[in-house]
Symmetry: C2
Subunit: 179 residues, 2 copies
DNA sequence: CAGGAGGTGAACACTCATGTTCACAACGGT
DNA sequence: ACCGTTGTGAACATGAGTGTTCACCTCCTG
């Protein structure tokens, strides 16, 4: 139930960062007093949401063997379902105000950057900055989650769509005109 | 100066959607009274920001000849500099509460979707949904703007980076292992 | 110089989210 | 049956953002 509370709070605050704690409590089907008992202040709640999201993403990344051939494939599989949590970390304002959160945020994707750097020259283009490739990867994952949330994309189709776009782009390889 | 006010307000409210009108006024180097005189309520200000952003994006899209070969290239060139305004439209919550804004938001990128649909089968892969290709395009533009804002990407490099990733993906075409 | 337009800070009343306390109900274990 | 735990609504004080008014200033124009 506590998990469900954090999940609901994440969704509510993402949809409207100015939502009152009363709104959050109501959405979670819980009394405002109870919410205050578990998270004394609004900052505490947001900190808890960020920490939980960081834990989940860390867990997803560390659950992937970064030395196998399909590391990126595994990563995408694991990240897509985290949808709102990733969104919270990427979009919620002023998360970097907290020292410890800031550190975790900046170091979180270092393993991913390293992985990409390692793959550049073999499976990945070496003429692009590693951080850019990581950004594009995250953007794809996030876009896929948006599509799922909007009902336009089947969850099981998401990883394939993200990966094929990520690796091959959108150009028709059989097209006669090249540029 | 009015333009600068709207631009500053956009940046401030994006960085912190809960920022007070006093903060906005101070950031814009203007008195809070003046701000209230021009935009009687907070909702009026946000509505004005959204409308201006919509105008700019509309202008960018309609300024591109969608029948030429390099329509997408032109589009990217024009959209990247709009950075924060696009971000505002994509990320600011509850914009769809306003009827007229909502309509403009949903119909804004229809020409782009149509363009993509037209190009599918010739220059663009036909095995991907048009809306997905549009999302990936926007994500690339937005990522580029983030890179520029973070100082990691030179503005003049942005369009090339977006387009090559968009069309070709990130796979090393010369790699020996295929999948 | 006179007067209007636009901008400003100060002050005010008002609303609302917030944080706190308290009394009460439901529940499980002893 | 007793008691600690957990959750709840009600009520309250507080603080901050908001919207408004007003007197004052500067600048530009007739």
């Amino acid at each position: 139930m506590s998990v469900h509370l954090l999940q609901t709070a994440t969704s509510v605050l993402l949809k409207d960062p100015t939502a009152s704690l009363g709104d959050v409590a109501k959405a979670a089907g819980v009394g405002r007093t109870t919410l205050h008992k578990r998270f004394p202040t609004r900052a505490d709640l947001i900190h808890a949401l960020a920490t939980e999201a960081l834990d989940l993403v860390d867990e997803a990344i560390s659950g992937v063997d970064l030395d196998t051939d399909d590391a990126i494939e595994q990563l995408v599989e694991k990240l897509v379902p985290l949808g709102p949590r990733v969104e919270f970390l990427l979009r919620f304002p002023n998360l970097q105000d907290d020292e410890r959160l800031s550190v975790r945020l900046t170091t979180m994707d270092q393993p991913v950057i390293d992985l990409i750097s390692r793959l550049q020259g073999t499976r990945l283009r070496a003429d692009l900055p590693a951080w850019w490739i990581a950004q594009i990867l995250y953007a794809g994952v996030y876009s896929a989650w948006e599509g799922i949330a909007a009902g336009r994309l089947a969850p099981l189709d998401a990883p394939r769509l993200v990966l094929t776009t990520f690796y091959l782009g959108v150009r028709d390889a059989g097209a006669t005109d090249r540029q």
